[in-house]
Symmetry: none
Subunit: 90 residues, 2 copies
DNA sequence: GGCTATTTGTCCGTATGTATA
DNA sequence: ATATACATACGGACAAATAGC
């Protein structure tokens, strides 16, 4: 499903908040809010920005990790995965 | 059959309670008690509001789902379907 | 050596809602 | 009407590792 990168979380709709956030973050990465190998917002920041519980934020991030879009480094942050679809010519 | 949105369940009449509830909910949706993509009352709330058994409430909801008027999201709720009669022009 | 702040990791409890028996 | 199971969401708390002063 497609999400707007600047959308807000709808707590009343049929789509669960963690799915919405995953879609929003996916859109923001695609838009270029964070470059590859750069950290996205911390979990605490996402909690404040979107008004969600941390467990919900972590679940959304887990979705992106599962998709290979980001990777998490313990005690460091969550980083945008380097694009592996582009041929590594230079 | 037409039902009043504020009608009560008649347990003595010829119309089965689940048909009555389905008609009432249909009228309430038409009246605008719940907007599209918004959750209707939970099954528990409908049980309490109309004094029906849960199975009866679920059967009434099943009728509306069959009609495409609402859709149920597991572990989340039952939502008013978005109006699909409007052409999707943009 | 401290202290403080930040970040992810983990666990607890409570609540709501559907699904099933 | 009760009970259990499952998924989701929220809030809080603590741990561990890192970084800076």
């Amino acid at each position: 499903m497609n999400f707007q990168p600047d959308a807000e979380i709808d707590h009343e709709g049929p789509v669960t908040p963690y799915q919405q956030l995953a879609g929003i973050l996916r859109a923001r990465i695609a838009r270029g809010d964070w470059q590859p190998n750069r950290a996205i917002s911390s979990e605490t920041q996402l909690v404040q920005q979107y008004g969600l519980a941390r467990t919900t934020v972590r679940r959304a991030i887990a979705v992106l990790v599962e998709e290979g879009l980001v990777f998490t480094v313990p005690q460091r942050g969550t980083y945008v995965a380097p694009q592996l679809e582009a041929p590594e010519g230079e």
